[in-house]
Amino acid sequence: MIAALWSQSPALAELFPLFGALLAGVWGLYRPRYSSPIAIASLVGSLVFALMVVCRVLAEGSLRYRMGGWPGPIGIEYVVDALNALILPFIPGSALLALWYSRGLIAEEFSAKLPQFHSLYLLLVTGLMGMTVTGDAFNLYVLVEITALASYALLSLGGGRAYLSTLNYLLLGTIGASFYLLGVGYMYIKTGTLFMPDLFARMPDLYGSPTLTAGFILMMVGLWIKMGLFPLHGWLPGAYTDASTPATCLIAPLVTKVTVYVMIRIMYNVFSPHFVFTTTTWSDVVPYIAAVAIVAGASLALIQTDFKRMLTYIVVAEIGYMVGGAWLGNTAGLTGAIFHIVVDMVMTLCLFMVAGIIALRGDGSIESFSGRFKTMPWTLAAFVAVGLSVIGIPPTGGFFSKWYLLSGAIEARNWVFMAALLFSSLVAAILVFRVVEKAFFGSLDEEHGDHGHHDHHSPTESEEAPVGMLIPLWVGVAVIFALGIFSGTLIEKLITHAMPPGLF
């Protein structure tokens, strides 16, 4: 029994949310109350099997799982190695935390649409997990679009301005996905296969071909649009800001980061370091684009007055970190990029959780943080803890991903990218401490009395977020610190094995 589950774990990790989605959607229509427990149960199941996959990869090395026993190009084959095994458990894990956190909000905001909401929620998770484990370039396209469709629907549930910003996202997202599909077509013309290991094996003979180069460019541009790399990020701030808290807490941490993973997968396991950095002549430009993305994201974050919108620009900057790291062309940079994918997932999750709490208690502007250290100490303390990771203070996870990214930049002698990383750390410090200052000091301009008393903001115990929101938030904070403390182990056991041969 255990052995069977063990061997089927890659499929089960994905089937749980898939069947959960069906169950929540269909049975939930008759018993709406059950849709939430179904969602939680299937995410827990998915998480358990995802962790089992990690254990298997640690024990056995990379896995090939064949759906229904059909091998390779004909059947659907999953390829799980050190790279996606690391990311896999974070998807259901983050979704589970987000769902736990937003249970109350969902019951309140979507009381009439509980089954639909949970069904979409689980479909999105299914799509993301599929993107992570699939070994087929075309399946990947379908899964990207499943994810995208679920996220369009979820984001638009925010109502109001969300409709228009989601439509904007839909149009750009479709362009991105179509570019990717075109790239797949170009590869198919040349190689006659869509199965990633076969592609990887057949392509070296064809590296000179302009068709392949065109396909590669199309795929990359498509993915960059999907992940919101500056200056292709136009859809991101609006779509994430206008959406409801439960939707952003699910989507913002996961979708863009999994897309970054897909980019790394395509670059190194479909194409190869040799193709990316030797055959392609323009690859050194990308870290500079990433540097621009970082600086622009950070600067735009600086001028925002709305907290959630500020966070979306931080997401834009962080995408620049990962893209730059992956394109530096050395192991340190790639290690940093991969490690940052998981760190940034948890960081973004926690930040948007804080944003949700603040939106619940005020209008969500940075101004509304005023004096909240006194009334919401746990929320604010969590924010400070996450903020340390965003800035990159040891021993948080953010410090170590930045460490590797900076090492990569120095090794590649890419001073511009290094300067951009440092600049964004400093901007992050300003962003975090601007909020902390607001929360710690209150609005000083109206104050004339004795120091340290904020009577105009009558402190009440009830302002603190409900425990059901605080616990997931603090679990996230704990994970950020755990990622930092165990970064050495994680990198040694998993990420080192994810390094493609030929990268130095």
């Binding site: 021993p395 170590f400 460490w403 900076l406 120095i410 440092l422 400093l426 710690f440 120091h451 403390i485």
Partner: protein, 497 residues
């Protein structure tokens, strides 16, 4: 020797934080926890002293955080010297804090004591750090944990001071120290302190010089100009904070880190041969430190706010230590190390007195203190002892460390810098001695008896600590053996500097 003791010594005040936080409603219990933690910490540090004096080191590896790089403690003579100062003065400061905070009925005292304990843990972490990464880790924790202490008053002035504080410290540590750290790791493949340095010969002199400057400016807690602006700004903090953190813990962590860079990252021998276009790299640092010393002393001369004058004096004295290190001679480095101790005792006394005056009279400005000596004789006597030590006059400990600094500059054939020490000592005397003098002898500016009426010594909690530390800094003149033994052990000179 491998032992848990350094970890425990670091943790003892951290473990007290939740206890302090939970006993917030019972102040006496709360302060008892602080004392217990302080005494435990001191005893743990003292327990390692015999081993260190025997010339050994105590190490403990916590966990490997990056491949080949661990969070690691390594207690050597240099570390324990600093740890002894910080942990012993913490106890005295706690006594003083109780008097000060209760005397002024400050708000949020629980928060104050919590973060104070946290800051002390970070300080010991820096002192016992076994590699540059561990040092950086605790360095950053210290910057952040002292922010709520600096901004304790939560008013506009505190906000501005706190803003300055964090922006200087974080910008320098992230902008300069972190890249230098990573570059060193990439060059040398290690960041472990061994007492001899690991960067020697790993890169061209230009790169190494650049790294040296990055490090020196990266650890901006050392207050080297032009990155000194945060220290006067941080004077908005309650006086116990200024006393322990901004005369001892925080600023000394800065110079301690710089010293580590000189002795354990580069190594004195490497630096002696590190020239860039004919100029010794260390000389650049020495010149910067000299400029800082002279300028800050001049600025201090014109400050009327007592705490600001003390702050500028601190900036100058910190650069003595950097200058001592940059002279690259064993005697000078030993002098620099012992100056960490001597200056700590002297300066904390001065800050205690400033706070005691404020508690008793509410006066912050030196011009208001004329004649106060008669009403507050103990406080001003202690102030006098403290200023003796900082100026470097007998019979105070400061004389000895300055003596070795000057001796080192002569032995290292850097006689020019001796003049810096001498001139600045004169300036020190010029801005300190008049304060005491005019407090006791107001002269023809006859002090209105009425203005002194009702002014009495501050509460005992506030007066005893400065008297004790003042006397201790005199005692250090007569019994300096341990300090100098440790200092000379640290520079590898055996028994005597």
């Amino acid at each position: 020797m491998v032992s848990l003791t350094p970890l425990l010594a670091m943790l003892s005040s951290l473990a007290a934080v939740p206890l302090i936080a939970l006993s917030g409603k019972r102040p006496n219990l709360r302060e008892a926890f602080t004392f217990a933690a302080g005494i435990t910490k001191l005893l743990l540090v003292l327990s390692m002293l015999p081993v260190i004096l025997a010339g050994e080191t105590v190490t403990y590896t916590l966990w490997e955080i990056l491949p080949g790089l661990a969070i690691r403690f390594r207690v050597d003579a240099m570390g324990i010297l600093f740890a002894l100062v910080a942990s012993s003065l913490w106890i005295v400061t706690t006594i003083y804090s109780i008097g000060y905070m209760r005397g002024l009925k400050e708000h949020a005292q629980t928060r104050f004591f919590c973060f104070f304990a946290l800051a002390l843990s970070a300080t010991l972490g820096v002192a016992f750090a076994g590699n540059l990464l561990t040092l950086y880790l605790f360095y950053e924790i210290l910057s952040l944990s002292t922010y709520p202490l600096v901004t304790h008053h939560q008013d506009k002035e505190a906000r501005d001071g706190g803003r300055k504080y964090l922006s200087y410290l974080l910008a320098s540590s992230i902008g300069f120290a972190l890249p230098a750290l990573i570059a060193s790791y990439l060059l040398a493949g290690t960041l472990e302190f061994t007492g001899t340095g690991f960067l020697g010969g790993t890169a061209s002199p230009a790169v190494l010089t650049f790294l040296l400057l990055l490090f020196v400016f990266g650890f901006a807690k050392s207050g080297l100009m032009p990155l000194h602006g945060w220290l006067p700004g941080a004077m908005v903090a309650p006086t116990p904070v200024s006393a322990l953190l901004h005369a001892v813990a925080v600023v000394k962590v800065g110079v301690f880190s710089v010293l580590r860079v000189f002795t354990d990252v580069f190594g004195l021998e490497t630096l002696k041969t590190l020239f860039i276009s004919g100029i010794k790299a260390a000389t650049i640092v020495a010149v910067l430190a000299s400029i800082t010393i002279l300028l800050s002393s001049l600025i201090a001369l014109f400050q009327d706010n007592l705490k600001r004058r003390l702050a500028y004096s601190t900036i100058g004295q910190l650069s003595y230590i950097i200058l001592g290190a940059a002279l690259l001679h064993q005697t000078a480095v030993a002098g620099a190390l012992s100056h960490i101790v001597m200056h700590a005792f002297g300066k904390i006394t001065l800050f205690f007195c400033a706070g005691a005056i404020f508690v008793a009279t509410g006066k912050k400005y030196i011009s208001q203190m004329v004649g106060l000596g008669r009403a507050m004789p103990f406080t001003f006597a202690a102030f006098f002892l403290g200023s003796l030590s900082v100026i470097g006059l007998p019979p105070a400990g400061g004389l000895l460390s300055k003596f070795y600094l000057i001796l080192g500059s002569l032995r290292g054939d850097e006689g020019l810098f001796m003049i810096v020490f001498l001139v600045s000592s004169l300036l020190n005397a010029a801005y300190f001695l008049p304060i005491t003098f005019r407090a006791f002898f107001p002269g023809d500016k006859a002090v209105d008896e009425v203005s002194l009426a009702g002014i009495r010594e501050a509460p005992l909690w506030c007066v005893v600590p400065p008297v004790v530390t003042g006397l201790l800094s005199i005692a250090l003149f007569f019994f300096p053996e341990t300090v100098f033994r440790l200092a000379s052990l640290a520079v590898g000179a055996g028994g005597t500097p």
